[in-house]
């Protein structure tokens, strides 16, 4: 990445003939004390992978010192004097890594361990702000170990939010101590903070090294190849299930879940028709912002333009009746994922499974907590307008915007433009070409504190060519 909120480098697009990347990959491993981070690190080091790994750990590390190279270091944070309060680097890392890179036999991988209290920003920015680090090393991924059993106690802390906002990979450890429902709830909470993170459930930090090391999470080319799937559509409901139903009464049963109520819309019939399904989806977006109808024990939920709010008792869960008059395919839009409440539908003496299910990302509305805002916009962006918008936005809000990633459709460019940023630094390059039949659109995700969806969406829209 170039210097602070500088222009995205659109000229440097000759990526096809790029020489093999000889930079040494760096993984930043972070997590709170007791999360299992040290166990994970020891597993990585003891596994037979044939890699020569150097570890830079903070002062309170406990890893086996018989390992090839372990350097202890404490955090020396340097503010970069370029006018950005959030541009900081780790001076100790620059010096240590500079020396480690001056060896005949280079390391295959470097792991930097940080505590859960440390802000991941300076570590990440070190690899973009220092010319030497940038040239010799490649930030591969930020991996955060989370104790599934205890994380809820500190998930609302600033430190925890920052850790999760930066994570490319979350290792959700100690999953054996938590039941499935709690795990689902926890995962959806993690996703509401950082929707781009990959979550792996583990017990005793057991996870294949190939899922942690050399995964190119910071690599724009790799990300470009994975996209556009990296953005799930963001809707006011998290799930849509399609059911084939005959006339009669059906029993919708929910177990106690993470929330005291759940909002539902029942639509149909005729949902085999995808156009009709899309129409119902749009309709439901509107309905979800209307006043809900509370579901009483005597209420019969009917397909139609009604937003139902079903109270879910902390002990008893919930039961509701669905009445179907015409046979056909119906859709049930649910505010939360069905797994979180073990949602089931019974009728005619048997369990009805959905014939199809769609998951959506839950939206992050304007509040002061850390979350993700994803924006999707059809059409081409004006490159200059986009650039000046991003530069201005990151200058103003760079402290609160921890990460930003996007795939853009720029006017006049046959290829996707892929970019990502850490605080005020951002960098971009050309990605894959647009296919002839592809809908040209731009997708952006911001992860940060106090994000205003409307402001971001309006800002992007104003960049349309």
């Amino acid at each position: 990445m170039t210097a602070c909120a500088q222009e995205a480098d659109r000229t440097n697009t000759t990526t096809t003939e790029k020489a093999a990347d000889e930079r040494v990959p760096v993984t930043v491993l972070t997590g709170f004390l007791g999360s299992g981070k040290t166990t994970l690190l020891n597993r990585i080091l003891s596994e037979e992978h044939g890699k020569r790994i150097a570890v830079i750990e903070n002062e309170f590390g406990e890893i086996g010192i018989d390992h090839e190279l372990v350097v202890q270091s404490d955090e020396e944070i340097f503010e970069m004097n370029n006018g950005c309060i959030c541009c900081t680097v780790r001076g100790d890392l620059i010096r240590i890594l500079g020396r480690l890179m001056r060896r005949k036999h280079k390391f295959d991988h470097i792991i930097i361990e940080t505590t859960g209290m440390a802000d991941p920003g300076p570590v990440a920015q070190t690899f973009f702000m220092d010319e030497e680090m940038k040239e010799k090393l490649r930030l591969d991924a930020i991996v955060t170990v989370v104790d599934a059993h205890h994380v809820l106690q500190h998930i609302d802390s600033d430190e925890c939010h920052a850790q999760l906002a930066f994570a490319d990979v979350v290792v959700l450890n100690k999953c054996d101590l938590v039941d499935d429902k709690q795990l689902h709830a926890l995962e959806s909470q993690l996703r509401s903070i950082n929707r781009l993170t990959d979550i792996h459930r583990t017990v005793h930090a057991a996870i294949g090294i190939e899922r942690l090391l050399d995964i190119h999470a910071f690599d724009l080319e790799t990300r470009a190849a994975e996209m556009p799937e990296f953005l799930k559509e963001e809707l006011p409901f998290e799930w849509a299930g399609l059911y084939d139903l005959q006339p009669g009464d059906y029993r919708l049963t929910l177990q106690p879940g993470p929330d005291p109520t759940i909002d539902l819309v029942l639509g149909g019939p005729g949902l085999q028709d995808t156009a009709l399904f899309e129409a119902w989806k749009r309709n439901s977006i509107v309905l979800y912002s209307s006043d809900p109808t509370f579901v009483e024990p005597t209420t019969c939920m009917l397909p139609g333009d009604t937003l139902y709010r079903l109270p879910v008792d902390g002990q008893q869960g919930a039961d509701a009746t669905l009445t179907i008059k015409t046979p056909g395919r119906y859709v049930l839009f649910t505010q939360h994922l069905p797994e979180e409440f073990d949602l089931t539908l019974h009728g005619d003496g048997r369990l009805h499974e959905p014939v199809e299910g769609h998951e959506y990302a839950s939206p992050h509305e304007h509040d002061d907590s850390v979350g993700s805002v994803g924006i999707r916009l059809e059409g081409d962006l004006d490159p200059d307008r986009f650039e000046s918008w991003m530069v201005g936005l990151l200058r103003r809000r760079g402290t609160d915007i921890f990460r930003s990633k996007g795939v853009l459709s720029l006017a006049g460019d046959t290829r996707r433009f892929v970019f990502q940023g850490v605080h005020m630094l951002f960098d971009g390059q050309a990605g894959r070409s647009w296919e002839d039949d592809a809908v040209r659109e731009s997708q952006l995700v911001f992860i940060g504190r106090d994000l205003d969806r409307a402001e971001l969406a309006d800002g992007l829209r104003a960049c349309l060519a």
């Binding site: 340097f78 370029n82 001076g91 001056r102 060896r103 005949k104 220092d130 010319e131 030497e132």
Partner: protein, 375 residues
């Protein structure tokens, strides 16, 4: 092509000798008579090369890389070394006999310096500067708030400049070093230093920063007010500083260009910041090492891609050679125009003047102006 200057007839140099060591050279030291060269490696070994070519001694000095090697001024038989193993040790530089282990801690010892008279040795690890006279500890200077990022003894041998985040500090060597000693703050600036160097006559002190600017402190006789200058415009951290041995000219690098600053110390000069840095352009990659010859007539520089360059006193490149991997150290012989150069493949090269002329043209890049601001 503009600026194309042939080196024919100027001062042709040639590669005399190359020697492959066990690992990358991290530091080297010539004996004062130039007969011996002591070389430290990233594998922790010290090699002694006599006449610069024949290895006459080799010993494992550290468990981990050597960070600094310093021969004691006034006594070439004593070699001080510091390493990533947290050790500071003294060696017989002739045969490698261990004379004393002065310190054996956990943290990397990143800095090591003798006073110019060779009486006191200082070593810094993290926030602590330890001092010895001979093998006797003089105690330590410790500042809990600041890591020592670079340090250099003043030519008088009584004051040690220590560069820390956002400031430059001066410790005074008293009759005794006490635990509650406090440094004098010489400079404050917003950046983090990566290098520090005294002008050899003590007329100025320069600090290069991570943020790509240079700070120079000059004591003046008017109002006792020292003058602080700031030079900006470097594309990356200013990691190379080399004062001319006699003049108040400093060669600096923070990117592919070397920049010479002429720093008159007379109080009547350049208050308005009219002085311009003079760029020397030949390198295509970030410069990693620079050094003046003992007589100050030649300047050597090496870069990240392994390009070695020798400049004459007019600032013309008189020799250029590609060595294939990053140059880690350049150092001139103390008497003759012989240059020792180490590269990232663990090779040590000696370059000296050729008898015959076999020069090749050296391309000079058109000059770009750097600006200098005064704080």
């Amino acid at each position: 092509m503009p600026g194309l200057a042939a080196i024919a007839g100027k001062a042709p140099f040639g590669l005399r000798h190359s020697h492959t060591l066990d690992d990358v050279v991290t530091d080297l030291a010539w004996s004062s008579d130039g007969k011996a060269l002591l070389v430290g490696s990233a594998a922790g070994a010290v090699h002694r090369l006599d006449h610069g070519s024949e290895v006459t001694a080799r010993w494992q000095a550290h468990d981990g890389g050597i960070t600094r090697l310093r021969l004691q001024p006034g006594d070439d038989r004593v070699l001080a070394s510091a390493g990533e193993d947290g050790k500071v040790a003294l060696w017989n530089s002739v045969d490698g006999e261990a004379l004393s282990t002065l310190a054996n801690e956990n943290d990397w010892v990143e800095h090591l310096a003798w006073t110019p008279d060779g009486k006191v040795l200082a070593a810094a690890a993290r926030k602590t500067i330890s001092l010895w006279q001979g093998t006797e500890s003089l105690g330590m200077w410790y500042d809990a708030r600041r890591h020592v990022l670079a340090m250099d003894w003043a030519p008088d041998g009584r004051r040690l400049a220590s560069a820390a985040n956002k400031g430059l500090y001066l410790w005074r060597l008293g009759d005794a070093v006490t635990g509650d000693a406090e440094p004098v703050q010489l400079l404050t600036f917003p950046g983090a230093p990566v290098s520090v160097a005294w002008q050899p006559q003590g007329r100025a002190l320069a600090v290069g920063t991570q943020d790509g600017f240079l700070q120079v402190w000059r004591p003046t006789d008017t109002n006792n007010a020292a003058r602080q200058l700031t030079m900006r415009g470097y594309p990356s951290k200013v990691n190379c500083l080399a004062w001319h041995p006699r003049r108040t000219v400093i060669a600096t690098a923070g990117g592919p260009d070397i920049v010479l600053w002429d720093m008159p110390v007379d109080r009547t000069d350049t208050k308005n910041g009219s002085a311009k840095g003079r760029p020397l352009r030949h390198h295509q990659a970030t410069v990693t090492a620079i050094a003046w010859s003992a007589d100050g007539r030649l300047l050597a520089s090496g870069d990240r891609n392994g390009r070695l360059c020798i400049w004459d006193e007019n600032g013309d490149a008189v020799f250029s050679l590609a060595l294939g991997s990053e140059i880690t150290v350049v150092q001139w012989h103390p008497v003759n125009a012989v240059l020792s150069v180490a590269d990232g493949d663990g090779r040590l090269h000696l370059v000296d003047r050729l008898q015959s002329d076999s020069g090749q043209p050296v391309r000079q890049h058109p000059a770009r102006e750097l600006r200098r601001a005064q704080d």
